[in-house]
Amino acid sequence: MSALRKSTPAAAQSDAAPEKELRPPSYWPFVVPALVVVLAIIIFPWVFTIWMSLNEWKVGSSTTFVGFSNYLRLTSDPRFLESVVHTIAYTALSVLLPLVFGTFAAVVFHQKFAGRGFLRGVFIMPMMATPVAIALVWTMMFHPQLGVLNYFLSLVGIPPQLWVFHPATVIPSLVLVETWQWTPLVMLIVLGGLAAIPAEPYESAQIDGANLWQVFRFITLPLIMPFLFIAGMIRMIDAVKSFDIIFAITQGGPGSASETINIYLYSVAFTYYDLGYGSAIAVVFFLLIVALAAVMLYARQRMVWTEIASDA
C-alpha cells in the first residue's frame, strides 16, 4: 500500500515532471519478453556478424581469424566498388522521383473530391502489394518484343527500348518500378503535413491574388519541408536496401549493371558462401546507411538554424 500512496501525489503532479515520477521499476516485466527476442534476433546477429567479419569463414571449411583483411579486401574489390556506384545512382533517383510525384499527389489528395477515400486506397496499393508478384508483372511489361511498355512507346512514335535488358537503361527502368511502388508512402507522409497547415496563410494569399504555383512555392512548400525531410530519409533508407525488386527482375544483371551493394552481398554470402567477407560487406553497408542518415539529419539541423537566423 505504501507504494500506492506514494504514487498518488506523483500522479497528481505528473504534468510537471512526468520523466522522473512515472518511472517505477515495476513496468520492466512488460518489456522483458520483447527484450529477450530483440537480444536474440537483432543484437546477437549484429555481434556475431562483426565477429565473423574478422574471420575467413566459408561454409564447409574451417575458420581462421584474419583481423581486418576482409575490410581491406573491400577497398580493392572492383565489383564491390562498382556496386557502390550503382547503389548511389539507384538511391538518388529513387529518393528524388517519389518525393516530386508524392508531393504532387499529396497536394491533390488534400483537396476534397468524390471518392477520395477509395481512390487513396487504390493509390497506396502498389506499396502494399507483394513486391515479388509486382516484379514479375513488370518483367513481362519490360519485355522488348511482347511488352506492353514498348507498345505504348510505339503509339507516341518512340522506338522500342531494351529496358532492363540493356546496361544503360536497367537502373532507370528499375527506378521506374521503385518510384511506382513507393510514391504512395511519400504522399501519405506529406499529406499528414498538409493536414497540419492552418488556413490563414492561404486566405491572405487569395486576397493578395497569388496564383496556384506561388501559393505552393511560398506557403505550402516551406511548411511541409520537415515532412519532406522525413519522407526523404525513410525513402533513402529503403532505396539503399532495395532487394526484392532488383533481385526478382534482373538479379543484378545484365552482367553486373544493376548490382547494388545489397545484391552483391547476397551473392557473396549465399551464392559463394563466403560468410566472413559477406559479413564485412554487411557491416560496411550498415555504416554507410547510418552515415547517410546522419548527413541528412545534419543538413536538416543546419536548415532549421538558418531558418531561425533569417527570422531574427
Binding site: 512488460f30 510525384f101 504532387f104 493509390f123 514479375l136 532487394f243
Partner: protein
C-alpha cells in the same frame, strides 16, 4: 459555378486521373495477363480484352498441390510470426510508453535501418547448427525481425496517446500493474493493436529475402514459390500472372478494406521491415 471554378474542377479531376492511373492500369493489366491464353499473351500489338477468358490459368495454379503447400506455409509463417510479435510486442510497447523510456526505441530504429541480409548470415549459421533448416521454424523466427519492431513501434505510439486517468484510478483501487494492463489499458488499445496486426501481417506475408535463403523445397512461402516459377515458366505468362495475383490478392484486399488503419499506422511510424 464561375468559369474559373469549372476550370479548377476539371484540373483537379485531371490530376486525380493522372495520379491514380498508374496503379489502376498496372493491376488491370495484371488481371488481363492472368486471364488470357498464351496466343493472346504472345500477341503483338497486345490484346487488352481477350475474346476467350482463360479461367484455366487459375485452375492450374490452384490445382497444383505444391501451391497449396506453399499457401499453408505462408499462413503458418505469417500467422506465427504475427501472433508471437503481438504477444511480446504489445506489453513491451506499453512498458516503454509508461516508463517513458524513449531511448530504448533506438533498438527499433537500428532494426529498421539494418538490411535484412545482415540478419540472415549469422542466423543461417545458427539454424544450420541447430539442425532446424528444412522446417518452418527458422522462417518463423526470422520473420520476427520484421514483425516485432512494427508492433512495438506502433504500440509505443498508441499507448502514449491513451489517457492515464483510468489506469491511475485502477491502481489506487488496488489493482496490480498486470491487472491494469489486462483490464484497462488493453481494451482501450484495441484499435492500435489492429493497426499493428495488419501491418505485421502484410510485411511478413510479402517478405521474400528470408525465404530465398532459408526455405527448402518443402518449406517455401508464396513469394519464394512465385519467384521460382519465373525460371521454370519463362514463357507461359498466363499462369505466372495468375499465381502472382493470387499471392498478392489477400494483401490488396486488406489494403482496400483496412485502408484507414494502414494509413494511420504508416503515417505514425512508416515502418517497413526486411
Amino acid at each position: 459555378m464561375t468559369p474559373r471554378q469549372i476550370i479548377g474542377k476539371i484540373g483537379l479531376w485531371l490530376s486525380v486521373f493522372v495520379i491514380v492511373s498508374p496503379a489502376i492500369l498496372f493491376f488491370l493489366w495484371m488481371l488481363s495477363l492472368s486471364l488470357k491464353f498464351e496466343i493472346d499473351n504472345a500477341a503483338y500489338p497486345p490484346v487488352f480484352f481477350p475474346e476467350h477468358i482463360a479461367w484455366k490459368n487459375y485452375a492450374d495454379v490452384l490445382a497444383s498441390n505444391r501451391f497449396l503447400t506453399y499457401f499453408i506455409n505462408s499462413l503458418i509463417v505469417t500467422g506465427s510470426a504475427t501472433a508471437l510479435a503481438l504477444m511480446v510486442g504489445v506489453p513491451a510497447g506499453y512498458g516503454i510508453a509508461r516508463m517513458a523510456a524513449h531511448k530504448s526505441a533506438i533498438v527499433i530504429l537500428i532494426a529498421r535501418i539494418t538490411p535484412g541480409l545482415s540478419y540472415l548470415i549469422p542466423l543461417f549459421l545458427l539454424f544450420q547448427w541447430l539442425g532446424l533448416l528444412g522446417t518452418l521454424v527458422p522462417q518463423i523466427i526470422i520473420h520476427l525481425v520484421v514483425t516485432v519492431p512494427i508492433v512495438i513501434w506502433i504500440m509505443i505510439g498508441y499507448f502514449e496517446t491513451t489517457p492515464m486517468e483510468l489506469e491511475e484510478a485502477a491502481l489506487i483501487d488496488g489493482a496490480t500493474r498486470w491487472q491494469v494492463f489486462r483490464h484497462v489499458a488493453l481494451p482501450i488499445a484495441k484499435p492500435g493493436i489492429a493497426v499493428a496486426f495488419i501491418l505485421a501481417v502484410i510485411f511478413s506475408w510479402n517478405n521474400f529475402v528470408f525465404g530465398i535463403v532459408l526455405a527448402g523445397r518443402e518449406t517455401r512461402t508464396l513469394p519464394v514459390a512465385v519467384y521460382n516459377m519465373i525460371s521454370f515458366d519463362q514463357l507461359s505468362w498466363g499462369p505466372l500472372a495468375a499465381a502472382a495475383l493470387i499471392v498478392t490478392l489477400p494483401v490488396l484486399l486488406l489494403t482496400v478494406f483496412a485502408q484507414r488503419q494502414i494509413v494511420a499506422g504508416l503515417t505514425a511510424g512508416a515502418v517497413k521491415g526486411g
